[in-house]
């Protein structure tokens, strides 16, 4: 495993796109942390995001993982371009000839995405911890480290997405096509959702509930649910309007955890099966 990671990080380190996009990722995370510090003075109103209580433990885990999730697209671009460029530079062929087996090749890519998912999770964990320690009103150990399942869900959500991108890169061999495929697939799942929702309304079926958990990107987005209504200000105003008739669910559902884990395994397996079948 160490050898394969060494090989893969050697490729990662000397790729320009990986450097640029990693920096962009870190810069955006840093900027988002700074946003918390900005005070807005407007018409006598003075406030900042931190006043909303979003950086309070344990909400900060939920809020930060939710809002930084979209950033995985930057890392995903790195993965897609690293994978697809192995095809366009034909280095994948050379790697095999030099003595890497097809299994090792897929494994090394998998280890890379695994480590990248872990690293992004650690970055967000540390960023949230810092924000929480600065702004949170509660700093008891028990409260700080409660609701950490959001960090776990964040990790799984990234892992499945990265595996998906890896698979797309190997399937289509060109980074532009692979990224396009990921985007189209995302829209495709959105379309399915709408159709399922309409069918449910019209015929009283319950397809929507299934597709929400079964399709990979759905399950991924569904892992960490929106935290808006959890924020005191918004939550209480909704409660006033609806008199508490709508109850929002925030918890991570095991079915989603299962679903994304299964999809991650499938994507890696398919990537391997594709590579094995193909003549290069």
């Amino acid at each position: 495993m160490k050898r394969l990671l060494d090989i893969e990080f050697h490729k990662f380190r000397y790729s320009r796109s990986s450097k640029v996009l990693t920096i962009i990722y870190l810069v955006i995370v840093a900027l988002m942390m700074l946003v918390g510090m900005i005070r807005i003075d407007f018409n006598g109103f003075s406030g900042s995001f931190s006043d909303l209580g979003i950086f309070d433990f344990p909400y900060v885990w939920h809020v930060s993982t939710y809002f930084t999730s979209f950033l995985k697209i930057f890392i995903a671009i790195v993965i897609v371009s690293l994978t697809a460029s192995e095809y366009s530079n034909r280095t994948i062929k050379q790697n095999l000839i030099d003595g890497l087996s097809k299994k090792e090749l897929v494994l090394s890519k998998f280890y890379l995405v695994l480590v990248l998912a872990i690293l992004t999770t650690v970055v967000i964990f540390l960023a949230s911890l810092i924000l929480g320690l600065i702004y949170s009103d509660y700093t008891e150990m028990g409260i700080i480290f409660s609701d950490l399942e959001f960090i776990g869900a964040f990790f799984l959500g990234h892992l499945v997405f990265f595996c998906f991108c890896l698979f797309a890169g190997i399937l289509l061999k060109r980074s532009a096509f692979a990224l396009g495929f990921v985007a189209v697939w995302w829209m495709f799942e959105g379309g399915i959702n709408i159709i399922a929702y309409v069918l449910d309304k019209a015929y009283g079926t319950q397809i929507y509930d299934y597709v929400l958990h079964i399709l990979p990107l759905n399950a991924m987005s569904n892992l960490i649910k929106q935290p808006f209504t959890r924020i005191d200000l918004i939550g209480s105003s909704i409660d006033q309007v609806t008199q508490g008739s709508i109850v929002f669910e925030y918890h991570i559902e095991w079915v989603d955890v299962l679903s994304v884990s299964l999809w991650s395994v499938l994507f890696i397996y398919w990537a391997y099966a594709l590579l094995k079948r193909r003549d290069l």
């Binding site: 050697h10 000397y14 000839i97 030099d98 003595g99 087996s101 003549d279």
Partner: protein, 297 residues
């Protein structure tokens, strides 16, 4: 003799096209092999199969008498195929380090091999800034990193200028002298003729010949002969048992030989018959002629 590679009835179909058809041969240690064949005869596909990048339709092959599995065997060989494949933004040293990591070997030999292919001065330039000749030389350096037991080269001089071709050929000859087994696929026959001891001839996926270069065609070569009195010379030749078909090539008569000859004897016989030769030269049949003959059907 130690077998490096044994191929048994290897076949590859691409749909209805049979790219490689039931090819079997053995590569033994210490020889320099040339795989000859026109474009599209299945040279690269055959190499692709033994190098683990093309899946055979049927048949099998074994490296080093089957003592190691395929991808570990590949760590003991050096191979370059068609065109050099490296990471464009890495420099020579970074690219070679990666190869070392894949082959699980030490990185000590990088400078030595770069020196061998004359790239030491450019070792820190990114691969994408290299000329084709430099890329090809880097590929050779990369293939030599593990001091391979066999070096496989697929069209190593394709697309190079004459200086580049000469440079690559010198490197190959240098390596061949050190006793490394080489398998060289090419359609440039003089290239093969200059370095190979054995040839494998492919045409349309089928193997026509496998063996030492000199035994490829049973023939005795030809002589180029001329005299002022052409008519007398032709009459004289008709009486000689070694003379086969005669052809006027412009700078003399080329006579195909049917048996071994002694040019001194011919000269003497002609002189006794009253013919003074103005030209007499023995010609070995070139590999090109042999190859064309073998593949013309």
């Amino acid at each position: 003799m130690e077998k490096i590679l044994e191929i048994k009835q290897l076949t590859k179909n691409y749909g209805s096209l049979t790219a490689v058809d039931d090819v079997s041969f053995i590569i033994e240690k210490g020889h320099v092999y040339g795989i000859l064949g026109p474009n599209g005869s299945g040279k690269s596909t055959t190499l692709g199969m033994v190098l683990n990048v093309v899946n055979p339709t049927s048949g099998n092959y074994s490296w080093f008498e089957g003592t190691v599995n395929n991808h570990n065997a590949l760590k003991r060989i050096g191979a370059i195929i068609e065109r050099p494949n490296f990471y464009p933004s890495m420099d020579a040293v970074q690219n070679l380090k990666l190869v070392c990591k894949i082959k699980s070997i030490s990185e000590d030999k990088i400078d030595e091999k770069l020196e061998l292919v004359d790239l030491l001065s450019r070792k820190h330039s990114p691969f994408k800034t290299y000329s084709l000749g430099m890329k090809q030389r880097l590929a050779i350096a990369s293939a030599l990193l593990n001091d391979p037991e066999i070096l496989i080269l697929d069209e190593p001089t394709n697309g190079l200028d004459p200086q580049g071709i000469r440079k690559i050929r010198d490197i190959i000859q240098h390596i061949a002298k050190s006793g490394t087994t080489i398998l060289l696929a090419s359609h440039l026959l003089d290239e093969v003729e200059k370095v190979c001891t054995h040839v494998i001839v492919l045409r349309k996926g089928q193997m026509l010949y496998c063996g030492p270069v000199e035994e490829m065609n049973k023939n005795f070569g030809s002589i180029l002969i001329d005299a002022v009195d052409r008519a007398a010379l032709l009459n004289f030749l008709k009486t000689q048992t070694y003379a086969g078909t005669t052809e006027d090539t412009g700078d003399g008569l080329e006579v195909k030989l049917l048996s071994d000859v002694n040019t001194t004897q011919i000269n003497q016989d002609a002189y006794s018959a009253g013919i003074v030769l103005s030209k007499l030269m023995f010609k070995k049949q070139s590999l090109e002629d042999q190859f064309i003959e073998l593949t013309k059907n």
